[in-house]
Symmetry: C4
Subunit: 353 residues, 4 copies
């Protein structure tokens, strides 16, 4: 298990230290350690002798037929990792029969990514273009224009990220890497001495529930919210007519000491009780991890760093290989626990210690 | 988060090893490790999409308008850390719209500290001078005289420390640093062979509940007791007509294996149920820590070592910067958990693991 | 206690690194650490002053009189460890009045092992030949032929291993070590692109419950299933007319994050409630470990690595000495806890922490 | 706190490595670590402002007036540590107003120890000679003769050790150190091949409950049993007309994985409910540790290694100093928790974490 980790040292050797640090931030600190501990403290019960021949990992999600539930998480500026950038990831996701969430901060034009994604699928009538991860653009008009550009490209699902209103100090981008699909932002109005940088500055740029209700009116595409960690908020998403959530702690990068996605998943699953899909993000490193998230009630999972290691080392082929490794591990875990299909996976497969 | 810790290595480089050891005592031992673990095992739940524009950290405490709930803890002999001593700390507290507790063992005259505190506030009608931390002086008359001197200076609140009857072997003070506001103590009467150094010596110098009742009669100022860790004792404070408590483990310096302030805070909050303010002391290192103490029911918190690191490195400016860092972190934590005001912070923001 | 561990460094010195690694795999990873922790977190309560004179460790199992409940686990290719291979282990088990489970992957002919086992017992009318551990051979016919060969040799009990359908990459065997009792397998039919290596490849070779029901019809010998970790599966074994189970996690080598045998033993014991013997495998390193497994309800235990250390260092004499050490430790633990016979050992002897 | 530990490195420097190892055995292994953890995981609640003037640590035990509840544990062969041996320890215990348990394996004649003990107390009418720790001598007659010799010397209490029937490989004694108060044992009868060294050898030498009943008839002195860890056994002691127990794990030296004395103390206290004194042994290193044992219901505690460190370094003066340090720490802990007398110490002073 955990074969994708074989790519980690190779990727580190390929990247400069600042980009490597940018990629792995949150990876060695307490948040991420917690996350991995959360996965390793769960035990899976082997169930030998069950007949699982003909088993598979297929599912249907938002009308899309997927070969497996391992989606590529939205990660910005992928040309930092490989010259082929998001196009390579999209091509690999598509070739492996899965899906990718394309970041608002992609470093290649939406149209190029869409094209890379569909190359191998020109003849598949059921094929659908990648999903689009939307960052709020500080105000409704600018956000609407970005959404419009993504929808015009043909992206098939919209995922609004809501958990990162305050950006941390980050990487100095190289000259040839940029968020090419965004408008230039005007600088924010200066604050008076009595105003708070947090409350009157950053948070003024953040979306609110009212903005989500407005956004729901702007598109017919399935709309998901990414970064939900509380059952009440999940309920609110449903009440606003949205189509799903991604339980996510944003790679451990925003709030120190936030609970892990795995900590809160069971309560959210119980509250939503099947009324919408619940995707799981954060900390998936192996097919075993994916199995655990599915057993706790996730409909599918987002994979982050492992595919970027693969992208760094081998471009589209590296990403495809990582996806295949994770899927093989998921299949092995299913076989050993006696699950022939995703629907057989459940809480009964686990022992919490 | 935890930006104030950037001052720690700088402060260590500024101080001689004996003073550094004096400052950090209890900091690397089991007591303090417990304390920090207590904070790190608590999880904060992000609540995105809430409208927190216009949020702030203001509160009113004993009739005083404070910009934030981060009080400077009473620390003795501050000229050990910087030539400007308590005056620098008082000036910074005042400039940042907060308050300071001035120690009975201050190394500068009360009048000078009061003056430094009010420099920037000559025109503010609501301004009030620092609070006074009172050590029991072994007997009532001597204690009354010390209290009298502090009140005459204009100090606005009295905080009696009750948890340190037995002093540990401590620092040899340099010649130019002394408790300039205290009378000389006569040496205690010698003990007979059959008497106990503890019960008949040290504890004879310690205040009792009867002494607290007597003290309550000696002043009209708000009177708080610092060092309360048991709900019954908190109840007793209230019954004697005092105005508040500081839950504190005295920097881990007195009783090995005492519970942390964080361990006992919830029970005391539940018992007192809003009948008086409960201040929290011990182990606050970041705005996130402060948020947790407030969420568990504290009205405000005392900050200790971090501001002394700032004092050591940069005098009044260093202290002011540390306060500002902690306040920014508190604001960020509030914003990310959807709290616009202190009153929005509560137990519902936390998950204990 | 834990005297058998004295053989570990000696054995390491005798073996090349690849064989040593093969033997100890799973021994330094999380699974095995868990296993050992499980044993060390249990406390035994000394019960002095009880009269235990004349105590012993004898038991009757499947009609066989055994001097002690410490069976030698089935381990493949024992000529890797010592030129005398399985014959040495069988001779030692027999000389010490116990039993051995001979692996399907034994590196010596079944007949030779049987002969070595009976040398010292030619005159003992109650003596019975070793037990036979059966690996499923991918299909019923080939499995039946292997079973037939073992039964013809006189092996007295059949133990089907069910928990290792997927073999991990393993050791390159030396030229003179082989599974001499097996037929050559034909290579499996190649998979199409759309087929899953896991579900359509490996798992097609694995036995199912239907195959167990079929196997039950093929032999009159007692039939046990090894690798059961779930009470429902234990119940199923009973329903199919089998005669016992071995609770085992296969040396930690198959499914990452499986529970330890010790974790699941109590639930299985409670469910089966004495209706068939329950043997315990995995992690026994001392007589104290064996005592704990017995106290939790096991009828007997399988010992693995310790006897291979003894085999490596001293052949049959080394194995016999290890068995004797473990038995002495078991007797001491019984004496100190006031147990004169195996039947006195029970849950009341333990405190879980 | 834990000032007695200052003697540890000094003592190590005084002793040869084999004697040091003999003294500290069990001290660095899991059993002892457990023991110390057990003490450090308990929290004491400071209760300031209570009037504890005139407090003391006196108690009456078996008709003897003791200045404090810190008894010297029975330790064999004390001339290994200092030329003055048991006489020095007895003199110190007596000078500090406490008591000592003299081992059956003392390296000086009982009469000499008794004399050393009474030197300073010739004029004290209430003074009583040390207690006597009795090892069972393999049979009743020999045991009766040993008891007779000890009683003839004037020893005032008998404590039968019941938890060490199996002696571990131990120190090779120097020529001038021996158990001078014992008869020579005849070698045990050889065992037949079929007999068990444990059940038919060692355990035949161990006392049983019947022997305890017999012993109770042999003496009018108070009779205690040392090594009881189970409430049922404590009850049995009472039923046989004995006068108390010592809860003890024999320095961690007998059964691997036995519970600590601290683990089992509360259950035994609850069961006995004041019907006889319960003494506590094992792991006391500071006055704080003693306080915890008393708070959990012990009547008094036995101190072991710390006084041997003192004996090694300073003879009688070293022992006396260690006792004084522990007593001062006990007094300080009492004062800080608001306890003026031993009777004020109780479970309400603790928080288990």
């Amino acid at each position: 298990m955990d074969r994708a980790r074989d790519y980690l040292p190779l990727a580190e050797a390929c990247l400069g230290p600042s980009i490597w640090h940018y990629l792995q931030t949150g990876s060695s600190d307490a948040s991420v350690t917690d996350k991995q501990n959360a996965f390793t403290t769960i035990r899976l019960i082997p169930r030998p002798l069950r007949n699982v021949q003909g088993g598979h990992t297929r599912l249907t999600l938002y009308g899309q037929e997927l070969a497996h539930p391992l989606l590529l998480a939205p990660v910005s500026y992928q040309r930092l990792f490989h010259a082929d950038g998001e196009c390579a990831s999209a091509m690999a996701a598509s070739a492996q029969g899965g899906q990718m969430l394309v970041s608002s901060l992609a470093s290649q034009p939406f149209a190029a990514i869409a094209r890379a994604s569909s190359t191998e699928n020109l003849d598949d009538p059921g094929f659908q273009l990648p999903w689009f991860q939307l960052y709020w653009q500080g105000e409704r008009e600018r956000t609407a224009r970005l959404l419009q550009r993504a929808a015009a490209t043909g992206f098939s699902v919209v995922v609004l990220t809501v958990d990162a209103p305050i950006k941390r100090a980050s990487l100095q981008l190289p000259d040839d890497v940029a968020a090419v699909n965004l408008e230039n932002h005007p600088p924010p109005a200066p604050l008076s001495q009595a105003q708070s940088m947090v409350f009157d500055g950053w948070m003024k740029q953040a979306p609110t529930w009212d903005d989500v209700a407005w956004l729901r009116q702007q598109t017919q595409l399935p709309l998901l919210l990414k970064g939900i960690l509380h059952p009440d908020d999940a309920e609110h998403v449903l009440a606003l007519g949205c189509d799903g959530i991604v339980v996510s702690s944003h790679g451990g990068r925003v709030l120190d000491g936030a609970p892990t996605s795995l900590d809160v998943l069971p309560d959210i699953v119980q509250r939503i009780d099947g009324r919408m899909p619940i995707l799981f993000d954060s900390g998936i490193r192996s097919g075993r991890d994916a199995f655990i998230a599915l057993a706790l009630g996730a409909t599918a999972v987002l994979v982050g760093r492992p595919y970027l290691w693969g992208l760094t080392v081998g471009g589209a082929l590296g990403v495809a290989h990582v996806i295949r490794l994770l899927r093989d591990e998921l299949e092995m875990t299913m076989a050993l626990t006696g699950c022939a299909q995703l629907g057989d996976i459940g809480h009964h497969c686990l022992i919490a210690r």
